[in-house]
Symmetry: C2
Subunit: 213 residues, 2 copies
């Protein structure tokens, strides 16, 4: 598939190490709008990621209209709670442990998705192409981070999927992959907590750690 | 799941824009070895990517031993040709169009995989977790690019899968996602050709381009 070549946008000038190592999930978003200039940079970055056979099957559906984000936010809220009920048996805010900061902020995002400045849904034109969707998605998230825009990778419970497709007249053969709210952070970016890479990397034999672990 | 925090490695100091916009698939690799210092940086970067619920199901199998890469390379070669036969009806080098530079270099990689300095296979501990594998994979590829190390995202034909699992005693419940050879490039990094992001990005309605397209 043909395409165009682009120079790196001047504003994507953060060190790649800093962007990657401070790419924390940002779930508390300011209502401040995100400009089309920023969105273009972010989507251009997404477009440059590797994908299978350069077929570029990913399609990003950017929700900008306030009333559409509100309508989508109601479905996201329903989906979030449907997943909590299924996985944890939680059905109301009091069920979510107060000390679990991740779940508390994810619950808040379920309330506030309707007020996110921008929501992006990632699809592929054919089924089973996650390997060509998530490299672009990660470029998108890193480029947003480099511009100081927060985001987090979220999903949707199957319960609401049909209604999301109807709401936006999305063709049935197109596959949904993830939901990405964007906004300037109310909190700060910062280090993430992850397993040491030496525990998730094996050298030459399964379950054998690398020499530097 | 708990984890550790890390400072960004000082050597990951390339502008993120340059890394993303020059992340071309590199299929012609020099035999020069890749050090453990570089591999640690690359795998640390992979570990910092977002993943579902911070469950971190990705496992990277790094093949470093020369005789193991040789043995794997033979299976990769067989898999590459099995896929070409299935998709294109090609069974020998003369069948591959001379003017198709991508296929020519992919065919060369099928021959040369056995000589790659390092080959990394990406797995997930459970099935269906591509959304938690490919953000780390993209971090891995970008970090390699930032260190001047070339790579390309490849896959394997199902025909050889069982033998790959046997060769490395990989548990059956673990899912294979992709194969990533690493090496310093014989050619140069440079711009990629991709569809303009305005053609793969929709605003507020399906198939409606953004205002900047």
């Amino acid at each position: 598939m043909t395409g165009i070549r682009l120079e790196p946008p001047a504003r994507l000038n953060m060190n790649i190490g800093e962007a990657m190592f401070t790419q924390r999930a940002i779930r508390r978003l300011k209502p401040d709008p995100i400009g089309d200039e920023e969105l273009k940079i972010i989507m251009d970055a997404a477009s440059k990621a590797p994908n299978g056979g350069n077929e570029q099957p990913v399609r990003f559906f950017v929700i900008r209209a306030r009333e559409k984000i509100r309508a989508f936010g109601a479905l996201y809220h329903e989906a979030w709670w449907a997943k909590r009920l299924e996985q944890r048996g939680w059905s109301k805010p009091e069920d979510v442990p107060k000390e679990d900061k991740v779940y508390q902020s994810a619950m808040l995002l379920a309330d506030e998705m309707r007020d996110a400045p921008v929501v992006i849904l990632a699809f592929s034109l054919a089924k089973g192409r996650a390997n060509s969707v998530f490299p672009p998605v990660q470029n998108l998230l890193l480029a947003a981070r480099a511009l100081g825009i927060g985001s987090t990778l979220t999903t949707l419970h199957p319960k609401v999927m049909e209604r999301v497709y109807e709401m936006f007249s999305i063709p049935g053969e197109v596959e949904f992959h993830c939901c990405i709210p964007l906004g300037y952070p109310r909190g700060r970016f910062g280090p993430t907590s992850r397993l040491p890479a030496g525990q998730t990397t094996f050298y030459d034999e399964w379950d054998h750690p690398p020499p530097w672990a």
